[in-house]
């Protein structure tokens, strides 16, 4: 009866199972709600959606299924399937050059609103309407020098003036649903147990020897419980070419966060310099001096870089080489300082290993890290953890 809605919700990426489908039917049978669309919506969400980050997906699925559900704002007013990646039109350089900008950002926004009102249906591949793969300034997966991107997963040709993709702004620290058990289990290898806290656990060996000493009269001995004492420092490369690996990084991040208590993480762009950031958005108020990092965390912290190490070689080896600001000391100087402070360090690279040979900067970083660069795959992670476990 509700299988249409069920399938729509599943298609929108909410993982609903048959059990939960039956739950909803049972709830309806009990007449918890009756002839009220809004209440039905709440009940269905209660039974089917198990994470608040999926609420949005569920809303969109319902919007599609119940035609005419009120839309919230301009952006969600554009149905997603118009923008589904049907195809990406490959434009020649002449085409690109021929395309003319529409003027500033304000003009673009204004034109967008006007066009949204004009447009009634799904569109793909033209040069005026909002849709996918064309050369209109509005839509996704296409090319226009001053384009506005809507509902696109990555940054196609990385030229959009404004990325309107809500998903893009989700901070890595947000609670993205990822239940990657294999990653978590791999990370468990890194656990280092140490005893701390109150003595509450029976120490069997000690009890036996103490009891024997007493001539068989029971003498109980306790010891403190074991806790995971490993300390991790994570540095994430963010933005630019790392956009392609957001998914992998999220997986790693949520697995790490679930597993370790002593975990500190910071963000950088391309290469580490004198400043790091606490937040993905790298706002000035979240900035932390790298020297502060060096001073506040001890040698026992294990350092993990996550980055594609793909940049201009000068960004690593020359003062002033950074693409974002003038750095008075070269990136490699800072990298070496970090590596000296944290001898147990690895670099995880989400780029496929077969590509590494094509980038000079990867070889440079790998050399600086004494060859401790690993792919961000399960195997790579396993070798990286092996490396971290060995004290050098």
């Amino acid at each position: 009866m509700l299988s249409g809605l069920f399938l729509t919700v599943r298609r929108h990426g909410v993982k609903v199972s048959i059990t939960e489908y039956l739950d909803l039917l049972r709830a309806l049978q009990q007449q918890l709600v009756f002839a009220d669309l809004e209440q039905f919506y709440q009940l269905a969400r209660l039974c089917w959606v198990k994470n608040e980050t999926d609420y949005d997906k569920f809303d969109r699925a319902c919007g599609e299924y119940f035609d005419g559900v009120e839309q919230l704002d301009l952006i969600s007013a554009i149905p997603d399937d118009w923008l589904a990646p049907g195809f990406i039109r490959q434009l020649s350089d002449e085409d690109k050059a021929a395309l003319q900008s529409l003027g500033g950002l304000d003009a673009l926004l204004k034109a967008f609103r006007e066009r949204l009102e004009e447009q009634q249906g799904r569109h793909a591949g033209g040069n005026k309407w909002i849709g996918t793969g064309g050369s209109s300034p509005f839509g996704a997966y296409g090319f226009h020098p001053e384009g506005m991107r809507i509902g696109q997963q990555g940054s196609g040709s990385r030229r959009a003036v404004k990325v309107w993709d809500k998903r893009q702004f989700q901070s890595l620290s947000s609670d993205e649903v990822l239940n990657n058990r294999s990653l978590q289990l791999a990370l468990r290898q890194l656990r280092r147990f140490a005893r701390s806290g109150a003595a509450s656990e029976l120490d069997l060996n000690d009890t036996i020897s103490a009891t024997s000493k007493q001539g068989g009269l029971l003498d109980l001995r306790y010891q403190r419980e074991r806790h995971n004492a490993v300390k991790l420092l994570l540095l994430f490369d963010i933005g630019g070419s790392m956009d392609d690996y957001i998914h992998e990084c999220r997986q790693l991040f949520s697995a790490v966060r679930a597993e370790f208590k002593h975990l500190e993480f910071f963000y950088f762009h391309n290469c580490v310099y004198e400043t790091l950031w606490r937040d993905e958005k790298r706002r000035p108020q979240d900035a932390v001096a790298t020297t502060q990092l060096l001073h506040s965390y001890g040698h026992d912290y294990k350092l993990i870089f996550v980055g594609d190490a793909t940049m201009g070689p000068y960004e690593i080896s020359y003062p002033g080489g950074s693409v974002e600001h003038y750095n008075s000391e070269a990136g490699e100087v800072w990298l070496q300082r970090l590596l000296a402070q944290f001898p147990q360090a690895v670099w995880l690279n989400p780029q496929p290993e077969s590509w590494w040979a094509h980038y000079a900067s990867i070889a440079q970083i790998n050399k600086l890290c004494h060859g401790r660069m690993f792919g961000l795959t399960l195997d790579g992670l396993a070798s990286a953890i092996n490396q971290l476990k060995h004290k050098n």
Partner: protein
Amino acid sequence: MRFQSNAHYIVTAELALAVNAAVTLQKPLLIKGEPGTGKTELAKALAAALDTDLLQWHIKSTTKAQQGLYEYDAVSRLRDSQLGDARVHDIANYIKPGKLWQAFTAAKRPVLLIDEIDKADIEFPNDLLHELDQMAFDVYETGETVRAVQRPVVIITSNNEKELPDAFLRRCFFHYIRFPDAEALERIVDVHLPGISKILLTEALQSFFGLRELPALKKKPSTSELIDWLRLLLAEQVTPEQLKQSRETGGLMPLFGALLKNEQDVALVEKLLFMAKRTR
């Protein structure tokens, strides 16, 4: 029985539906939401509404699933055996029922609160799958099976520190308590502080929501903090004019310590308010 707002606890229609569905269909209800939005209070209010016992199981990082079922105190049995105590012959003397056992065998259908399940080890929810599903478990030491006389109403709260496994989530209903809007907040305050003056409340809420809208706060003040703050305002007899004045002159609100819980946030708010004043 329909659970609804009462003199002590305000529920939204959504939450009431969620609770009623969980009670009727006898499934655990998983509640998430910002700290201080009344997740734990919900269980207490529900137990009061159903006129039954509330069993609270507070989870810590060291809590094991087994502790919720029962604990076998082998050590005291060993000790008793040395002292020649007669109790030692019956193993049942050394089995201490946990919260789940108590809930299963209670005379009246109780409310069981499993508080902050995300604090435990990642395997913890998996270890409870069967028990919550079948509402039964075996006691290996005595060979008996404890089966629920009636399925307790199970409320589980989480603060999102860890992801919960899918298999566990499938067995629960899920509701996310959103932060209340101004209108709902006024009703909540009314329940807790019935005598508060309308003008003071309006001024205070204005300052409060202004604070919540600041982007980079480490810990946003929540409902429980608002209520504490209002209580302080009443105790110190702060007037609405004082509140208004502090907002307009760009200083921190009186008694801000109740709302801002860390020194970086205080510094940040001070700076922003100062800048806002300068640009005005």
